[in-house]
C-alpha cells in the first residue's frame, strides 16, 4: 500500500457523539481518556482502527471510540477480533474486555487468540467484580469476597491474569492501573508498547468499580501507598521501588524478597529480563498482601510470527507454487467425462 499522508489527530477525533454511560467515578473513564490520548501518537489511520469487545461495563468501550467497532457477545470478542484481523491484516484491532468477560465466559477464546499470537491489543479491565450485572464475584475476586452471589464469601481461588497469559503462550504481557496518584504514569507507556508489539499484547489494567468493588486497588493507585505496593518493571534494570526508591527485590534461592537499598547494592538486585518467561511468571506471583510490591509495566515480550502474517504467507506461497486459483479449472479437476449430444 502506498503511504498516504496521515492526518494529525487529536484525542477528540477518537470520541463519538454517544454519551459515555459509566457511573460517576468509574475507573473506566481514565482508561478511555488515556486510550484516546495515546492513539494520535501511534501514526495509524483512524479508519483502520477497530475496537472489539464482549459484554460488560468495560465492553461498552467501543461505543465511545470514534473508530470502527464491534460490541460483541459475552466472552467472544477474541474470536470476533480474530475474524476481523484475519480478514484484513492491515487493521489495527484493539480488544477491550473485563475480568468476567475475558476470564470467565471468554477465557478460552482469549487463550487461543493469545497463543496464536494474532496481532491484537487486549485491554483487560480487572475490577474483580461483575459490574454490568450489578455485583457478582468474578474469577479475579479474592477468596472470601462477599458479593450478591456469595453472601457468605467466595470459595473460589482467584485467577491471576498475568500468570494466566504467560501460561498460555502470550508474547506480550503487561500490567498497569487505571489511575496512578503515586506519580508513576504507566498506562500510556504500556499502551504504546502494546501497540508497537507485533503480535497479541495482553494488558491487565487494575480498574476501580466505584459502585460494586470500590477501592479494591487503592493500595496500588493512591498517593500514599502506590509507590510502596507497586514496582515498575523496566527491561535490563533492577527492581527498585518505594516512595524514596529505597527498596529493591532480590532473589533468595528461587524465591523473591524485599531488601533495603541501605544494605544491598543495586547490582545484587533482580534485574528484569522481559524475554524470560519463568522470571515473568515468578513476578506474576508477587502480592502486596505478602509484603511484595506488585509489578507494573511489561512482564514479558518476545517476538514470534503472528497468525495473520503466517496466514497471508501461506496464501501467497500457495499462489506462487500453484498459480492464482482458477475456478473453472478447479471444477474440471478430478476424473471428468463428457456426455455428448
Amino acid at each position: 500500500m502506498t503511504q498516504i499522508e496521515l492526518p494529525k489527530y487529536s484525542a477528540k477525533d477518537f470520541a463519538t457523539d454517544q454519551e459515555v454511560r459509566w457511573c460517576p467515578g468509574c475507573g473506566d473513564y481514565a482508561i478511555l481518556a488515556a486510550v484516546r490520548k495515546v492513539l494520535p501518537d501511534l501514526n495509524h489511520r483512524k479508519e483502520n482502527y477497530v475496537f472489539v469487545s464482549g459484554i460488560g461495563c468495560s465492553s461498552r468501550f467501543p461505543y465511545y471510540m470514534g473508530t470502527y467497532g464491534v460490541h460483541g457477545i459475552h466472552g467472544r470478542a477474541p474470536a470476533i477480533a480474530t475474524g476481523i484481523k484475519s480478514a484484513n491484516p492491515n487493521l489495527d484491532v484493539w480488544l477491550v474486555t473485563g475480568d468476567g468477560d475475558g476470564l470467565s465466559i471468554g477465557g478460552n477464546h482469549l487463550i487461543h487468540m493469545l497463543r496464536r499470537n494474532v496481532n491484537i491489543k487486549v485491554l483487560l479491565f480487572n475490577n474483580r467484580i461483575y459490574g454490568l450485572t450489578k455485583g457478582q464475584y468474578s474469577p479475579t475476586s479474592l477468596t472470601g469476597h462477599r458479593t450478591k452471589s456469595t453472601p457468605l464469601g467466595s470459595i473460589d481461588h482467584p485467577i491471576h491474569p498475568i500468570s494466566f497469559a504467560l501460561g498460555v503462550e502470550a508474547t506480550f504481557v503487561a500490567r498497569c492501573t487505571d489511575v496512578n496518584k503515586g506519580g508513576l504514569n504507566v498506562l500510556p507507556d504500556v499502551l504504546k508498547a502494546a501497540a508497537d508489539h507485533r503480535g497479541s499484547a495482553f494488558v491487565e489494567i487494575y480498574q476501580d468499580c466505584n459502585v460494586f468493588n470500590h477501592q479494591a486497588f487503592f493500595y496500588a493507585t493512591e498517593k500514599d501507598t502506590a509507590r510502596e505496593t507497586t514496582v515498575l518493571l523496566e527491561h535490563g534494570k533492577p527492581l527498585i521501588f518505594g516512595a524514596n526508591r529505597d527498596k529493591g527485590i532480590r532473589f533468595n534461592s528461587t524465591r523473591l524478597e524485599v531488601v533495603s537499598l541501605e544494605n544491598v547494592k543495586e547490582d545484587d538486585l533482580l534485574f528484569h529480563d522481559e524475554t524470560d518467561p519463568a522470571l515473568a511468571f515468578l513476578l506474576s506471583r508477587m502480592h502486596h498482601t505478602q509484603g511484595l510490591p506488585e509489578p507494573v509495566g511489561v512482564f514479558y515480550r518476545v517476538n514470534k510470527p503472528c497468525y495473520e502474517d503466517m496466514l497471508t504467507e501461506q496464501i501467497e506461497k500457495s499462489i506462487a507454487q500453484r498459480g492464482e486459483g482458477d475456478l473453472e479449472k478447479l471444477l474440471n479437476s478430478g476424473s471428468t467425462w463428457t456426455v455428448s449430444e
Binding site: V70, N88, S335
Partner: protein, 641 residues
C-alpha cells in the same frame, strides 16, 4: 499397457440389465470405500448414471472383524435416470463374516453374493457371532453364492513381486474389484490411472501402485478364466444431459460452491470451522484451496467459529461457518448477534443423527425447526436446503447471494447422506453464473439534522435500501467509522436504543427483510401431476428417494405431484396455491415431522407425515407403500402394467 479389452468373450452368456445395485462390504481396514469409489467412477466415466451410499462405522474404530467395524459402500449404476443408491442390493460383495452378517438382509432373493472364503475362519466367524459357517450350512441357498478364496488367490498372484505380506494383504480389495469389473464388463483403465496418480505421482510409491494394479488385473483374469460365473452383465450407457461431468460429494460441492460464490462476488472467502463429523470435510477441502485466497480458520470451538465469521463479515469478507449436530446448537447465540448486527454470514449445517451426540456418522433431517426457530427471541434467519450432492454447489452460491443481498445470516441445510454420498455432476460454467453484486459504501449516506450545510454529512449504518438491507461499510473506509453490536439499534443511526417503538419497528424490519426473499424464489416446479390426489412436499437430501418414488407412483397411474423445497424460510410464495390443488398433502421427512409443522401452521392443511428416524435414507419402496396406503383408492387397473 496390456489391459483386457472389454469385448464380450465366448465362454459366458451375457445379460443386459437396465441397472444394478452393488454393495461392497468388509472390515474398516478392507478398503471398501476406495473400492466402491473406483467402481463408481469407472461406471460414471463409462456413461452410466450412478448414485452412491457410503456407510461408515461410527467415528471410532472398532476391533477388526467385529460387527461395528463393518464398512460398506453401495453403488447404483444404470442406463436410465436414477436418483438413489437403490433400495435392495443385486450384488453383495462381503469381505468377511461380519460384513455378510450386517448386510445380507439387503440382498435381493436370488441376488449374487460374492464372499472372500478365506476370511470365514473360526476367529472371524466368532467375532461376527456366527455359530456355524454360513457358507457351508445351506443358509445362503436363496442366493447365487460365489465362494472365492480371495486372500489366497491374491497372495499367489502377487507373490512374485516380493512385497511384504501386509502390503499384499491390503491389495485384496483391488483383486476383488477386478473380479467385479470382469463380471460387469468394465474397463480397468480409470482405476489404473487413479492408482498411478495416487501412489506413483502423489505419494511416490510406484511399487504400491504396481502391486494394486497387478491385483486388479489378477482378479479380472480370474473372472475370465475360472469358469465360475455363468453369466456376465452389461449395463449400457445412460442418456444423460450432454456436457462435462464429474463425480462429486456433497461436502466437496459445498466447498466449491462457497469458493464460487465468493468469486462471483469478487471477494475473498473466510471459512471458520471446528472439526465435527460429518461437516469436517468442508473444512478439509477448503483448507487445500489457499491459492484461491480462501482463508480457513480452525477455531477453538463452534462458538468461536461463528464469531470469527461475524468478525470477517464485518470486515468485508464472504464469511462462512459450518458444523453439524451439537456444533450447530452452540452457534445459536452467535447467529443472534449476526441477525442483530445485520451482517451476512452463511451457516452450513450438515445434519446428522441426534439428539445430543446421537449417531454422529448417520444421516437425519431433524435440524429444520432449530434452523427456523432455535434462537432466543425473534431472530429470523433465511433457511435453504440442498437436495443432492451436486446441488450443494448451487445452494452454497445461493446462500452467499441471499446473505449479502439482505445483509442477514443464511442457514444452509445439507445432511450426512448427501454430504458423503456422490453423484455425477454436470459441471457448471462459471461464466454462466450470475455475478453477486456487492457495494461497500465509501461516502456519507445521510444528512444529520444537527450538522450544517447541504448534502450528506453522516454515515447511517442502519439506513435501508429497497430490500430493507442496511449498507455494508467496512473498516478501512475513511469517515464511515461506525459501531455495531448486539443491543437493539435505532433504525437509521444504528445507535443503541431502548425506545419501545423503535424496538417494535426493528423486530418487524428484521422479519420483513427475511420475508422479502420471496421475491428471489422462482416459481415452484412440480414433478408429475399439477393437481390431483396427493401432493408430496419434500426438502433436502430426501430428494432422490422422493423423486424416484414419485416416478413409480406416476407409473402406477396415481395422481401425484411432488414439490421439493430449496427455500424453507421463507417458503415459496406459490406454495399455498399449489397445496390447494391437491386433496391430500404428504410430507416425507427423516425426522418426527418438522417441515410439516410449518406447512400445517402456515396453510392450515391437514398434511400427513411419513417419518423415519433410523439414521438412514428412505427406501423408494417404503415411500411408495406408505403413500399408496394414503391414496383414496388404489388404482389397481393401472398398477398391473
Amino acid at each position: 499397457m496390456n489391459t483386457p479389452v472389454s469385448a464380450v468373450d465366448r465362454k459366458h452368456t451375457t445379460e443386459t440389465l437396465e441397472g444394478a445395485v452393488i454393495r461392497f462390504c468388509g472390515d474398516s481396514g478392507d478398503g471398501m470405500q476406495l473400492t466402491g469409489g473406483e467402481f463408481t467412477t469407472t461406471s460414471a466415466v463409462f456413461g452410466n448414471d450412478v448414485a452412491t451410499f457410503p456407510d461408515f462405522p461410527a467415528e471410532i474404530r472398532a476391533p477388526a472383524g467385529t460387527l461395528p467395524g463393518v464398512s460398506g459402500f453401495q453403488v447404483n449404476f444404470a442406463s436410465t435416470d436414477i436418483s438413489t443408491p437403490g433400495d435392495k442390493v443385486d450384488v453383495l460383495v462381503a469381505m468377511n463374516p461380519a460384513g455378510l452378517k450386517t448386510n445380507l438382509a439387503d440382498l435381493k432373493a436370488g441376488g449374487i453374493l460374492i464372499v472372500n472364503e478365506d476370511a470365514f475362519n473360526n476367529n472371524n466367524l466368532k467375532k461376527a457371532g456366527y455359530a456355524r459357517n454360513p457358507l457351508d450350512d445351506g443358509s445362503l441357498k436363496d442366493y447365487k453364492l460365489y465362494k472365492i478364496p480371495i486372500s489366497r488367490l491374491c497372495e499367489e498372484s502377487l507373490a512374485e513381486t516380493g512385497m511384504g505380506a501386509k502390503a499384499i494383504g491390503r491389495a485384496k480389495n483391488m483383486y476383488t474389484l477386478g473380479v467385479v469389473y470382469w463380471l460387469f464388463d468394465r474397463s480397468l483403465e480409470p482405476t489404473i490411472k487413479h492408482l498411478t496418480d495416487l501412489f506413483t505421482k502423489k505419494k511416490n510409491q510406484p511399487e504400491v501402485a504396481d502391486l494394486n494394479i497387478r491385483a486388479l488385473k489378477a482378479g479380472y483374469y480370474m473372472g475370465e478364466t475360472a469358469e465360475m460365473f455363468q453369466s456376465r452383465y452389461i449395463v449400457p450407457k445412460a442418456k444423460l444431459a450432454p456436457g462435462k461431468y464429474r463425480q462429486i460429494s456433497g461436502n466437496e460441492a459445498t466447498a466449491l460452491g462457497l469458493i464460487a460464490g465468493a468469486r462471483l462476488a469478487k471477494k475473498t472467502l473466510t471459512y471458520a470451522g471446528y472439526p465435527i463429523t460429518p461437516a469436517s470435510d468442508i473444512l478439509h477441502f477448503l483448507s487445500a484451496y489457499k491459492n484461491y485466497h480462501v482463508k480457513t480458520l480452525q477455531m477453538e470451538d463452534e462458538i468461536a467459529a461463528v464469531c470469527a465469521a461475524i468478525g470477517a463479515s464485518y470486515t468485508g469478507d464472504i464469511a462462512v461457518t459450518g458444523s453439524s449436530g451439537p456444533g450447530i446448537a452452540l452457534k445459536g447465540e452467535g447467529i443472534g448477534l449476526a441477525v442483530m448486527t445485520e451482517l451476512p454470514i452463511v451457516i452450513v449445517n450438515v445434519q446428522r443423527g441426534g439428539p445430543s451426540t446421537g449417531l454422529p456418522t448417520k444421516t437425519e433431517q431433524a435440524d429444520l425447526l432449530q434452523a427456523v426457530y432455535g434462537r432466543n427471541s425473534e431472530c429470523p434467519c433465511i433457511v435453504i436446503a440442498a437436495r443432492s450432492p451436486g446441488d450443494c454447489f448451487d445452494a452454497a452460491v445461493e446462500a452467499i447471494r441471499l446473505a449479502t443481498k439482505y445483509m442477514t445470516p443464511v442457514m444452509l441445510l445439507t445432511d450426512g447422506y448427501i454430504a458423503n454420498g456422490a453423484e455425477p455432476w454436470l459441471l457448471p460454467k462459471m461464466s454462466q453464473l450470475k455475478p453477486i453484486e456487492i457495494q461497500h459504501p465509501t461516502a456519507f449516506n445521510a444528512h444529520s439534522d444537527e450538522a450544517e450545510g447541504e448534502g450528506n454529512n453522516v454515515y447511517w449504518p442502519y439506513l435501508r435500501n429497497e430490500n430493507l438491507a442496511r449498507p455494508w461499510a467496512i473498516p478501512g473506509t475513511p469517515k464511515l467509522e461506525h459501531r455495531v453490536g448486539g443491543l437493539e439499534k435505532a433504525q437509521n443511526t444504528g445507535n443503541v436504543s431502548y425506545d419501545p417503538m423503535n424496538h417494535q419497528r426493528m423486530v418487524d424490519l428484521r422479519q420483513a427483510k427475511v420475508e422479502k426473499v420471496v421475491q428471489d424464489i422462482p416459481p415452484t416446479e412440480i414433478q408429475g401431476e399439477k393437481s390431483g390426489d396427493v401432493l408430496l412436499i419434500g426438502w433436502g437430501g430426501t430428494y432422490g428417494s422422493i423423486h424416484a418414488a414419485t416416478e413409480r407412483l406416476l407409473n402406477r397411474g396415481h395422481k401425484v405431484g411432488t414439490v421439493h423445497l430449496r427455500y424453507i424460510n421463507p417458503l415459496p410464495p406459490d406454495l399455498g396455491e399449489i397445496i390447494r390443488r391437491f386433496k391430500t398433502v404428504v410430507v416425507p421427512e427423516l425426522n418426527k415431522g418438522q417441515l410439516i409443522r410449518i406447512i400445517r401452521d402456515r396453510f392450515l392443511v391437514d398434511a400427513r407425515g411419513i417419518n423415519k428416524v433410523q439414521g438412514k435414507p428412505f427406501l423408494i419402496s417404503e415411500l411408495v407403500a406408505q403413500i399408496e396406503a394414503m391414496l383414496p383408492q388404489p388404482r389397481v387397473e393401472r398398477a398391473a402394467r
